[in-house]
Amino acid sequence: MDMEVSRIWRDPELWVKALPSVILQTTCFLAPLVMTFILTFQKTQNFQLNWTWNLATWTDVFTKPHYWTILGHTLFMALACVVVCIVIAFPIAYGLATRFRAYDSEIKVLITFAFITDATLKTFGWVLFLDKKGAANYLFAHLGLPQETVAFLFSDWATLLGMVYNLLPFAIFTIYLSIDNIERSLILAAYDAGASKFRAFWEVTLPLSRPGIWAGSVLIFLLGVGVFLEPKVLGGGKSPMSAELIRQTFETRVNWPLGAALTLVLMVVAIFVVLLFSRVAGMRKAGA
């Protein structure tokens, strides 16, 4: 096995094939990342970047608790969004993949539409619906319910609603593809072996759809930690998340070193969480 790997690495054809990808990754990802890291060791003076090497920015990051409060809040919201999305997406994806197979193409087109509809439009739409004087309260008032029955706009709940609404298609699509690829004969074999519908689902369908659940979770988590619109528009800006903090630092404070440092912290923590979960998931899989 080792010899085979070694042989592959010596294969010039492989290197040629990999070269465009390596160049792309280096110039478009690695180089900006290194630049961002270098930027954190500079300072700003009179709103101007001053190329003086120092650790002031990192000292600031590690001594001011509010950065970590916002980061913690961001991680919590992203994880909550993952859980809610998966719980909602799984039955939808399962139903679409098993009960509505005749409409397979139409369903895929509809899911694609969800991706290409502008998130700003959808988010502002929720404001009109959830506002004190919005459509929801108007309808409830006509049903005889108290005024302002729906009163959770500009709260974390509204932010979570917006996040789930905008990111749900990612979970539905990945889980749908995963369930759609499960061999039907495996489920039939479980039935032949005497498994009930629930047991066949629990021991065959669910484990085999795990890659889709995992892919959807990672996607939603990473997109969730970077949300900007939902906390601002639906959350009322009172519980800022990391993306807004970074925007404020770069744009309003023109403190690029601090903005770069906060960006790196967010990236590292998000990657760490993903790796941690993948390890836990891997251990559970090995245990099973």
Partner: protein
């Protein structure tokens, strides 16, 4: 040794440039960048021949509205120019972009006055000779004529004020009375919990709150004063329903009465709604408190970049932007309406337009306001804002 546009390039290319005679052809980095940008633009736009025939290309960094065809087209026609726009969405971002190198491509900038002022010490803005602008200033309100201290750097004028307005509570007179807002007290009244909106526009909400706390944010502040700012922001967040960055969200809340008042904004927010016929939406300024004026006058200004390769044309454009016809268009845009610094425009305003702009109120607002300029401790105050916002979660 003199530095030229290609001296940063490797020696090989420098020799090639010299060999091709490009070093003596009046070529410079700015023209090369513009030429490249122009060529790329033409390629992408499928060769718009009318534009391609313009003799001179210029770049104008400005807020949306300054690029209105009613303002720009007459200038392009009269001077055979093609102006491309670099629209800014926030003044600090525009300033940072200029410092990051955009100053080599931009000829003219229209932005918030403190950021135009900062262009002086940063070495970005060209010093203007007020004598060259005698005709322009002849039409100006006295308040904005030189020597206009907020736009001066070391005694030199570095920009011309274009339009202005006031920062103060924005209210709906159907749900509250202007008399109630003679101070910022309603912002902190527990009875108004979840009825106050704060515009999340950088320093805009911070400075009025500092004034309310008895602190003049335009003077250097010590730790004790900064702590007062912290306390007043903390109290403000307790009562705040929402922080909004988008004008329309605040305008909607004021119109439907779900918001009692909006702070950190002012005439910039209310005028467009008034233009739609909602004259019950007002921008007012509180009365002075313990001798400290509570309102803030914001001013937008225009400056010529030091590195422009067309200083005369850029100054001509500056004069055009503040001219009577252009200023009239600038005062009444679809997105926002604001008074301008050119007094001559008053003669072309209709009574309805004057009412939209609250012109009967503007000098009262001016007299009860601080002039918005560079606040020495603004970065500390912005950091405090972030800390208190995080703590309020």
């Amino acid at each position: 040794m003199s530095k030229n546009w290609y001296s940063d390039l490797p020696q090989y290319y420098q020799r090639q440039i010299k060999a091709m005679g490009l070093d003596e052809a009046g070529m410079n980095r700015r023209r090369m960048l513009k030429g490249m940008a122009g060529a790329a633009g033409l390629g992408l736009l499928g060769l718009n021949t009318r534009q391609a025939h313009a003799a001179t290309q210029m770049t104008y960094m400005c807020w949306e509205g300054y690029n209105d065809p009613r303002i720009i087209d007459p200038f392009n026609k009269a001077n055979d120019t093609e102006i491309s726009f670099d629209l800014i969405v926030d003044s600090p971002g525009g300033f940072a972009k200029l410092q990051a190198g955009a100053s080599r491509e931009v000829d003219l900038v229209s932005s918030d006055m403190p950021w135009i002022t900062r262009m002086g010490p940063a070495g970005l803005a060209m010093e203007l000779n007020p004598d060259d602008y005698t005709e322009v200033y002849a039409d100006f309100y006295d308040q904005f004529k030189p020597p206009f201290e907020p736009l001066m750097n070391e005694g030199k004028t570095i920009g011309v004020a274009t339009r202005w307005g006031w920062v103060g509570p924005c209210i709906n007179t159907d749900v509250t009375k202007p008399e109630v807002w003679k101070t910022y007290d309603p912002v902190f009244d527990a009875a108004n919990k979840d009825k106050i909106c704060v515009m999340d526009w950088g320093d805009w909400p911070i400075l009025p709150m500092a004034l309310h706390a008895g602190i003049n944010p335009y003077e250097p502040l010590d730790e004790k004063q900064l702590n007062e700012v912290r306390l007043v922001l903390r109290a403000m967040f307790k009562n705040t329903r929402t922080l909004v960055g988008d004008l329309t969200q605040a305008q909607k809340g004021l119109l439907d009465g779900s918001l009692l008042g909006c702070i950190g904004a002012g005439s910039y927010l209310t005028s467009a709604v008034r233009k739609q016929g909602h004259k019950n939406i007002l921008a007012i300024v509180p009365e002075p408190k313990n001798g400290l004026k509570q309102g803030i006058i914001w001013v937008e200004a225009t400056a010529v970049l030091k590195e422009t390769d067309q200083p005369e044309l850029a100054q001509k454009l500056l004069k055009h932007v503040v001219s009577k016809d252009a200023a009239h268009a600038l005062a009444l845009l679809d997105s926002t309406c604001n008074v301008v610094t050119n007094k001559a425009v008053e003669s072309v305003f209709t009574p309805e337009e004057k009412d939209i702009l609250q012109m009967d109120y503007m000098w009262h607002a001016y007299d009860n306001s601080q002039m918005h300029r560079v606040a020495p401790n603004i970065d500390e105050m912005l950091a405090i804002w972030q800390e208190e916002l995080a703590a309020a979660q």
